[in-house]
């Protein structure tokens, strides 16, 4: 179903799909374009023809100044677009359900929690007890479910070569399900404008073999840096992941920030802060006066969080 990769380069968009969702989106794009051509091509062809035939300087068609209606033509004019829209409506309906980002793409998908910050993403693997910043590693062929929120303004996560985007919003969670069908590297990014560093908010997605995935997780689990409320508050300062390394005192480490999960409820605590706290300019990440020492996270709430799924 997926074409083999033409090059080993990073897949930037769904024009080089790495998974079934992006592949179907590309196929649907081609289908929609072709179907719409039924209505568009007549205009593109008829415009020059009519202008030529009825040009005033040398017309070749009869002058009919009072012609204003024709039943056959009228039914074609309404009929063709109605037909095209009906066909497309059916396929739109089916595709929307088939590619529902909330639909799991396999049994027991790998659960990953995502927190959007200015201008970086934290990917939390609760089952593995680790967290990565601006890097997402997934095993090839395994269904993945992202649960997203943000601790600043609204963001939107898209890994174009694998799956489309979904908004991440404060105090709420959204979900994005996908599957990488082959090994490779893809670019993921935030597509929703979030300020000065917005254009740098990109991350790499690695789809690797199961063995490589497990080896990588083991390596991260042996890390001495832990994601706790304190280190989280430092990560929440505006800046890229590289800039965050400074405040975490790990400037000398190459590659992405890798952490063990010091607090397994960190994702829930981030969600909880907007339900129980009155945010101040000092405690709100993304605010110009944000101060990591004055931005404590509350305890996780027992009550289930608001889920966008209606």
């Amino acid at each position: 179903m997926i074409d083999p990769p033409f090059t080993l380069a990073v897949a930037e968009s769904f024009l080089q799909p790495m998974g079934p969702v992006a592949a179907e989106q590309l196929r649907h794009l081609k289908f929609v374009t072709l179907l719409t051509m039924i209505a568009v091509v007549p205009v593109l062809v008829a415009t020059p023809l009519i202008l030529w035939r009825y040009r005033r300087s040398k017309p070749t068609g009869k002058y009919r100044p009072n012609w204003e209606s024709n039943r056959v033509l009228e039914s074609l004019m309404w009929g063709v677009p109605i037909l095209v829209v009906t066909l497309m409506g059916v396929s739109l309906w089916n595709m929307t359900f088939r590619l529902d980002p909330y639909k799991e793409l396999g049994k027991d998908p790998l659960q990953i929690h995502v927190i959007g910050l200015d201008w970086k993403w934290i990917f939390i693997y609760p089952d593995e007890g680790v967290a990565l910043v601006d890097e997402l590693v997934v095993p090839e062929g395994r269904a993945v479910e992202l649960t997203l929120t943000t601790d600043t303004v609204m963001q939107s996560l898209r890994i174009s070569a694998i799956v489309g985007q979904i908004y991440a919003m404060p105090a709420m969670t959204t979900k994005l399900n996908f599957l990488a069908a082959r090994q490779g590297e893809a670019t993921g990014m935030n597509t929703q404008f979030t300020g000065n560093g917005f254009w740098k908010q990109k991350f790499q997605v690695f789809s690797v073999s199961r063995e490589e995935y497990e080896a990588r997780m083991k390596k991260v689990q042996a890390n001495d840096l832990a994601l706790t409320a304190d280190t989280y508050a430092l990560l929440a300062v505006q800046g890229t992941a590289e800039e965050a390394k400074k405040s975490l005192n790990i400037e000398d480490r190459k590659g992405p920030i890798e952490m063990v999960l010091g607090d397994s409820k960190i994702f829930q605590r981030v969600l909880a802060r907007y339900m129980v706290e009155d945010m101040t300019p000092e405690s709100q990440p993304g605010s110009p006066s944000y101060d990591p020492t004055k931005s404590p996270l509350p305890a996780a709430q027992e009550k289930p969080m608001m889920d966008m799924k209606m």
Binding site: M37, P59, M77, W78, P81, T96, F97, G164
Partner: protein, 692 residues
């Protein structure tokens, strides 16, 4: 003391001061733009003294004549278009060289795309269209003015307040960086405590009230002021689209006013409508904004469709094909436009059923839109097509708008929107409908109706070159953006890291220079035409062999429009009168005409509204309170004082009207061969028709 007087306004807020403190390319560009405001202002004042134009200026500013108000809307739009085009060029040229960082700083770029969008939608496209509607609709329905002339002036005043605020933000402070959609919580108090979002809220909030009033005004005008015999199904298509636009304005602007007000309460009084915490929810803003925003798209495009309908019929010398179908399609679009707002955020995580339903509703709009394009093509079929400037715009519209429609249908699919939302594909799409749709429509309409209002034609050669540059510049600038959008590039990025994007962005940057050239040619056309106006005069008022009532008056049209209100017994009333030879018959009896006298209400409201907005932005509470109370007092006075009228004596009307009719009867007129040269005095002789 200083703080009580000036609020949070300090010396450093003035952009020109920043240039001295921190000179670099970005502050140089902003300082240059800022300097244009005092310099331009001084130049205008000097010109007014030099030419002794103060009196005529006030004559215009206090006028309630719909033609003058329409003209002022269009002049306002052209000034704002200048700024919008320059901003667009800056952004596109920056992106052409922005691999790993261009010459613009991020903060500067963010303000540029925000002002570009806000400015182009609210202070260019809308005033252009409202200006055209003002000028044309009363003439097309055979009325002497709009239903509420003073209210019309106040609407203009409120629009000017928005323009003032967005312009003064160049000089004092900064504008929002949150995009023209201004989503919280990015524009909320915690994240963005500066003046930018306040400028944004107040400029579109205050001018939005003016647009609502315009909607009310024109809906009433079209319902109530039509001349004898002008039933609904005899109204020209442009008037139909103006009616639909008015209805859209009435229902679509209040959600915008509401969400601006609510965001303002969040920012000023610590409310929690859209905040992250305390139960606020940004999704409500997004919904409200697009409940306005989607109908707004059709507010922008429907009048342009109306212009296209008039042009297709006039310049092919033929009745409009499928009048009933076109009216039905226009109404369909107007109604459907309220049912699709959710397609602006398919990616917010709502249920699949909701997405699919709104996706299909969006597809439905393609049906009436397609029908319209087919109807215009059929209008040309069987006609005698003259390739005048408006026709060039129409041809460009057919081809380019079809591409815009295609990309619109693609984006209507939620599954594809997941990929293309927030990308440059989307940016290409809406420019693809707004430039070949709205802008081409407006420019064609200005060329078409210009001689009617000002008495002389625009130079043909210059106008054609202008049309060519717009189309060429558009193709170069925006078609590449479809490609980079599909390659994954998002909108609103000051720089990028993927070298594969560079060639496309360079083409786009070069294209934007052609758009700049096109704008220069708009000004050049106006200037050369004014200089040569003696040769371009069309005093008899019908330069294009027009079909509808507006052409049945001298050019320039007198203040009272029609000496005697015409009676209508068909769709193309003027064409029928010309065919019967009764168009310029002498009239027996003239009567005194009562017209509303000039007033200062619009000016007063504009001044007070500007003070209110500026005071609120800078926390100069005394100014805001005084201006707000002033507005209330003005409106109450306006409502209670009897309307002042001036009477134009029958003798004066008779003199002008008889002279015009006599000249028309004595003139030989021209065939369509001489339409675009000096022989055209505004009288159409029956055309010589060759049949193959």
């Amino acid at each position: 003391m200083f703080e009580a007087l000036f609020g949070r306004l300090t010396w450093d807020s003035i952009i020109l001061v920043q240039e001295f403190e921190d000179p670099n390319l970005n502050t140089f560009i902003t300082a240059g733009a800022a300097a244009m405001i005092p310099l331009g202002g001084a130049l205008v004042v000097a010109l007014l003294f030099w030419m002794k134009w103060w009196k005529p200026l006030f004559e215009w500013l206090t006028s309630v004549d719909h033609k003058k108000i329409g003209t002022m809307y269009i002049i306002f739009a052209v000034i704002m278009l200048f700024r919008g085009v320059v901003e667009g060029i800056l952004m596109r040229v920056n992106q052409a060289v922005a691999l790993n960082g261009g010459f613009l700083s991020s903060d500067h770029f963010n303000q540029l795309f925000t002002t570009h969008g806000t400015n182009m939608i609210f202070f260019v496209a809308m005033p252009f269209l409202i200006g055209l509607i003002n000028i044309v609709v009363p003439l097309q329905i055979g009325a002497r003015d709009v239903a509420f002339p003073k209210l019309n002036q106040i609407s203009l005043g409120l629009t000017a307040v928005g323009g003032f605020l967005i312009m003064i933000s160049l000089l004092v402070g900064e504008f929002s960086t949150g995009g023209w959609t201004g989503y919280p919580s990015f524009t909320g108090r915690l994240i963005n405590p500066g003046v930018g979002p306040d400028y944004y809220i107040l400029s579109i909030g205050i001018s939005g009230i003016g647009s609502t009033l315009t909607g009310v005004n024109f809906a009433v005008t079209i319902y109530k002021m039509r001349t004898a015999g002008m039933s609904f199904m005899r109204m020209p298509l442009f008037t139909w689209t103006a009616l639909c636009t008015s209805i859209l304005l009435i229902f679509a602007m209040p959600p915008l006013t509401a969400c601006c007000l609510m965001l303002g309460l969040d920012r000023y009084l610590d409310f929690h409508f859209f905040t992250n915490d305390m139960g606020g929810n940004l999704m409500n803003f997004i919904n409200l904004f697009w409940m306005f925003g989607h109908p707004e798209v059709y507010i922008l495009i429907l009048p342009a469709f109306g212009v296209m309908s008039e042009i297709a019929a006039t310049f092919s010398g033929k009745r409009l094909y499928g009048y009933v179908g076109l009216v039905a399609a226009t109404m369909c679009i107007a109604v459907l436009s309220f049912m699709v707002w959710l397609h602006h955020f398919f990616t917010m995580g709502q249920s699949t059923t909701v997405n699919a339903a709104f996706g299909i509703a969006t597809l439905l709009i393609a049906i009436p839109t397609g029908v319209k394009i087919y109807d215009w093509l059929a209008t040309l079929w069987g006609g005698r097509v003259r390739f005048t400037t408006p026709m060039l715009y129409l041809c460009g519209f057919f081809v380019l708008f079809a591409i815009g429609g295609l990309s619109g249908v693609i984006l209507a699919n939620p599954t594809l929107d997941y990929q293309l939302h927030n990308s440059l594909f989307l940016v290409a799409h809406f420019h693809n409908v707004i430039i070949p749709g709205t802008l081409f429509g407006v420019l064609a309409g200005i060329y078409y109706w210009f001689p009617k209002i000002y008495g002389f034609r625009l130079l043909d050669g210059y106008s054609r070159i202008t049309a060519f540059f717009w189309a060429f510049g558009f193709i170069l600038t925006f078609l590449p953006l479809y490609q980079v959008g599909m390659m994954g590039m998002t909108r609103r990025t000051v720089a990028y890291e993927d070298p594969a994007l560079v060639p496309w962005m360079v083409v786009s940057g070069i294209g934007s220079l052609f758009l700049g050239l096109a704008f220069t040619f708009v000004l050049l056309t106006l200037w050369r035409s004014v200089v040569n106006r003696k040769k371009l005069m069309v005093p008899l008022g019908d330069p294009w062999d027009g079909r509808t009532l507006e052409w049945w008056t001298p050019a320039p049209t007198p203040e009272w429009n029609f000496a005697v209100l015409p009676k209508v017994d068909g769709r193309d009333a003027f064409t029928e009168a010309k065919a019967k030879g009764t168009a310029y018959r002498p009239i027996e009896k003239y009567e005194d005409i009562e017209m509303p006298a000039n007033t200062y209400y619009g000016l007063i409201i504009a001044a007070l509204g500007s003070g209110l907005g500026f005071g609120l932005v800078w926390y100069m509470w005394w100014l805001a309170v005084i201006c707000f109370l002033g507005c209330i007092v003005t409106v109450i006075t306006y409502a209670f004082l009897p309307e002042r009228k001036k009477t134009i004596p029958a003798a004066e009307v008779r003199e002008i009207d008889e002279a015009w009719r006599r000249a028309a009867r004595e003139s030989r007129g021209v065939t369509r061969d001489d339409e675009c040269n000096e022989a055209n005095q505004g009288l159409a002789r029956p055309d010589i028709i060759t049949n193959p």
